[in-house]
């Protein structure tokens, strides 16, 4: 996992002035402390919580939302938002399955069909992100509106392609594809490795490249960035494409899990991804944020639902309510930061 970026540490400290710098540092650690407390509570409440299997289970389930949240983190820091990621994931999943089913006989090799299909998932994500970026920058439409529109469009097309039912991957393909979700490397499931990789790369891009600095500059004050010779349109488009690629990666990991896509695939993923970013300490207004926080935020939210599943203190049906309380509590603690 990428280390806490020096950049964010300094801005957080500056916020409160020198004398209260420790408080700024503590602020950044809030999500981590929350996660640790939750894990202690989980261990005390149920002895199964701290088992290796359960931990891997939680991390694997976190992987999809977590990977999308890393991309979402960039979009939110740049001052944007993408509401369509859940629908986008569903449409990509359906398209990829249809593609694999259709191409296996044509290519003559199920293996080739699966590999090309996985690539297609990433390419589709990038293309959808490009369309978002172009509409938002060149078309000068609010990101909220653009992605609210595509949220409906993507899911409607999936529903159309699937005739309202499910699109299912053929069995032979499914057998070849399933290790992408189910296999382990050094005892850790593949999706968790990919999640880790995406997070590390995301952290490096955000904190150690000119592009990452520009993303923060645009989110903090777009006009200053423009006057400072930053190519604002290009950077924003790239940001939506980066999120699209993340959605593509999350989807290609998700498809082999069930081997099908339906109108309920990826439902509400956008809210979970945004919630993970916000719980991780990134401000919705943009300008500053951290990938580490986002990763912790994503894990924290799925640990909550895991604990509710394992214990009977609070009904599982209240899962979303508990997560909602956490989001509001975090936002409450962050108020006045900017």
């Amino acid at each position: 996992m990428p280390q806490v970026p020096a950049e964010n540490a300094t801005t957080a400290a500056g916020r409160h002035g020198g004398a209260t710098a420790w408080w700024g540092k503590l602020h950044g650690l809030g999500p981590v402390i929350g996660l640790v407390l939750l894990c202690i509570a989980g261990t005390l409440l149920n002895s199964n919580f701290a088992t290796y299997d359960n931990v891997m289970n939680v991390l694997t389930r976190t992987a999809f939302i977590g990977i999308i949240a890393v991309g979402m983190c960039f979009v939110i820091i740049s001052g944007g938002i993408d509401l369509s990621v859940g629908s986008m994931a569903a449409l990509i999943a359906g398209s990829v399955i249809l593609f694999m089913n259709a191409m296996a006989p044509v290519l003559g090799s199920p293996m080739a069909a699966v590999v090309v299909g996985m690539l297609l998932a990433v390419v589709l994500g990038a293309v959808f992100g490009l369309v978002h970026g172009l509409l938002i920058t060149k078309g000068r439409i609010e990101p909220f509106i653009v992605t609210l529109g595509t949220l409906g469009i993507f899911r409607a097309y999936l529903t159309y392609f699937s005739n309202g039912g499910a699109i299912t991957l053929e069995n032979d393909l499914s057998d070849i594809y399933s290790p992408v979700y189910y296999a382990n490397l050094l005892g850790v499931p593949i999706p968790v490795w990919i999640f880790l990789l995406v997070a590390v790369i995301g952290g490096v891009i955000l904190n150690r490249t000119a592009y990452g600095r520009y993303v923060q500059a645009i989110g903090s004050n777009e006009q200053v960035a423009q006057y400072a010779a930053v190519d604002v349109h290009k950077i924003k488009i790239l940001t939506y494409m980066l999120l699209g690629v993340c959605v593509g990666i999350a989807t290609l990991l998700y498809v082999p899990r069930l081997g099908s896509a339906s109108p309920t695939t990826g439902l509400l993923w956008e809210l979970e991804a945004i919630a993970a970013v916000i719980v991780g300490g990134t401000v919705l207004k943009g300008g500053a944020g951290s990938i580490t926080g986002t990763v912790v935020g994503a894990i924290l939210l799925s640990v909550i639902s895991n604990i509710l599943n394992l214990t009977s203190i609070i009904s599982v049906y209240l899962n979303a309510a508990v997560q909602g309380f956490v989001i509001i509590a975090v936002a409450f603690m962050q108020r006045g930061k900017r």
Binding site: G14, G212, A225
Partner: protein, 496 residues
């Protein structure tokens, strides 16, 4: 109609920082006071206390013989007739002028707003400040100088008995400034007390009866204006002898290819057929009234506004500049007049601000924070940026030091041509002097420098030649011995 005010041993602390150390003085009604002091001297804080935006940590404010109760806020102060006109505008962009002027003090008929009455009163107030605009104009559409006048009109509509003006002429043209001075004389005759904060000592000398000088949170002098010279005022402010404000002029470079050559540049609605050259080592000034199109001309040059005609050559090569990025790539950078809105990321720390325009240099491909930090240390040294720590946010620097950081930022890519738009706006005398010497040094190093300024003395003291714009057209280019205040005003206002 008049109000008497007294400060009694007022102190103010922000956390561990004490900005006022026991200030006490009284103001008589119906007089004009000049309040002087460098940035950070505590004058703004004292005035915010008077206007109710802050409350003193200890001490008290006495108004008309009664100690003001704490916690009333600016509303209570306004009820006493004390109104502060902010240096940074407090106007809601999407509301109309009339809605802004009556914001929080709406006139009502029964449960409904009486728009007609408010519009009428707004029209009266606008006429007083000499701003012939429709009260239904949205504030978003106004230029900076007009917003300043709306702020003043708002204070008038509140029936102010004591008016605090913080740098009111920073954005005004000479004509508008004259009108403001006439208005101040009228108000004074009507018994209104005026506290006038300005760095422009000639204005203070002209308009005030007494000057009150603050330094480091203390009152250091109070004199009848007639008994002190401008030089004495400046010395009282900085607490030491101020060496000459402007560096001695170097001879203008002769001959050689111009570093930038602009021909027939038109920016629709703002500038028409403007041509000029700047040589390496030359400082070219741009004078003109607000709205003459100077800033917009250069925004057009940088591709921030559409151009309808014109060619640009940099170092002899024709260039097509579509964005500030193109311009920077060709060695042309621009310092905006709007430091907080377009110049600096005030929420960022100093390092990312400094390196933003030259980030490619630090990305190979990974950013090198150590190299950035070294560059920041050098810049702090070279530009004389005074800061307690290198890790603070830009917003915690004083205005003058923010401006030095903004200058360091636009110079960091190593441009061959640099355009400085109002480089000393809202900056105290000491920092001004440093900036003037810096500009001179840049020219000496062979940069072509363009200075856009509304302060004529600044243009005369600094520039080799001054181009004068009026209503989007280049009227003339003046140089010694014709480079005088009278000539500049005559061409800028079109009386010649």
């Amino acid at each position: 109609m008049s109000v008497a005010v007294e400060f009694r041993n007022v102190t103010k602390e922000f956390g561990p920082v004490r900005v006022l150390h026991g200030v006490g003085f009284a103001l008589q009604p119906g007089r004009v006071y000049g309040l002087l002091g460098e940035n950070g001297a505590g004058k703004s804080t004292l005035m915010k206390i008077l206007a109710g935006y802050e409350s003193p940590t200890t001490g008290e404010v006495v108004v008309d013989g009664a100690v003001r109760a704490p916690g009333g806020g600016s509303r209570a102060a306004e009820a006493q007739g004390i109104v502060l006109i902010h240096q940074e505008f407090n106007l809601a962009d999407d509301l109309t002028i009339a809605q802004n002027i009556f914001l929080g003090h709406e006139i009502k008929r029964g449960p409904f707003l009486d728009d007609k009455a408010m519009r009428e009163k707004t029209r009266e107030a606008l006429a007083k400040v000499g701003l012939p605009l429709d009260p239904d104009t949205r504030v978003r559409k106004l230029i900076v100088a007009e917003k300043q006048l709306v702020e003043i009109a708002r204070a008038l509509a509140r029936n102010a008995r004591l008016l605090i003006m913080d740098e009111p002429t920073a954005t005004l043209t000479p004509g508008e400034t004259e009108r403001l001075f006439a208005l101040m004389a009228e108000l004074k005759a009507a018994g209104v007390t005026i506290i006038y904060i300005s760095h422009k000592l000639d204005e203070v000398e002209r308009t005030t009866d007494e000057v009150i000088v603050m330094r480091d949170g203390l009152l250091v002098a109070r004199e009848a204006t007639a008994s002190v010279t401008r030089r004495q005022m400046a010395n009282l402010m900085v607490g030491r002898e101020l060496a000459d404000l402007f560096p001695p002029k170097l001879p203008a470079p002769a001959g050689g290819e111009p570093a930038i050559k602009v021909r027939g540049l038109s920016v629709p609605g703002w500038a028409e057929d403007v041509s000029f050259d700047v040589r390496r080592g030359e400082i070219l000034g741009f004078a003109g009234l607000v709205g003459a199109g100077r800033t917009e001309l250069f925004e057009g040059l940088l591709g921030l506004r559409p151009r309808s005609a014109g060619t640009v050559e940099i170092a002899g090569k024709p260039v097509q500049l579509k964005s500030p990025r193109d311009a920077a790539r060709h060695g042309l950078t621009y310092l905006s007049e709007d430091r907080k809105g377009k110049g600096l990321h005030v929420h960022f720390s100093l390092r990312p601000n400094l390196t933003l325009m030259a980030l490619e240099r630090y990305a190979k491909p990974w950013l090198d924070p150590a190299a950035e930090q070294a560059a920041l240390r050098d810049a702090v040294q070279e530009f004389g940026i005074r800061t307690g720590s290198l890790e603070v946010r830009a917003s915690s620097l004083s205005g003058g030091n923010q401006q030095k950081l903004a200058l360091a930022k636009v110079l960091h890519p190593g441009p061959s041509v640099v355009v400085l738009d109002e480089p000393t706006r809202g900056v105290d005398v000491g920092a001004k002097r440093e900036i003037y010497h810096l500009v001179q040094r840049l020219a000496e190093q062979g940069l072509a420098v363009v200075v856009i300024s509304s302060e004529l003395m600044e243009l005369i003291g600094l520039c080799h030649r001054v181009a004068v714009m009026r209503a989007g057209r280049l009227q003339t280019t003046l140089q010694e011995p014709n480079l005088t205040e009278e000539e500049l005003i005559a061409h800028a206002t079109g009386t010649r």
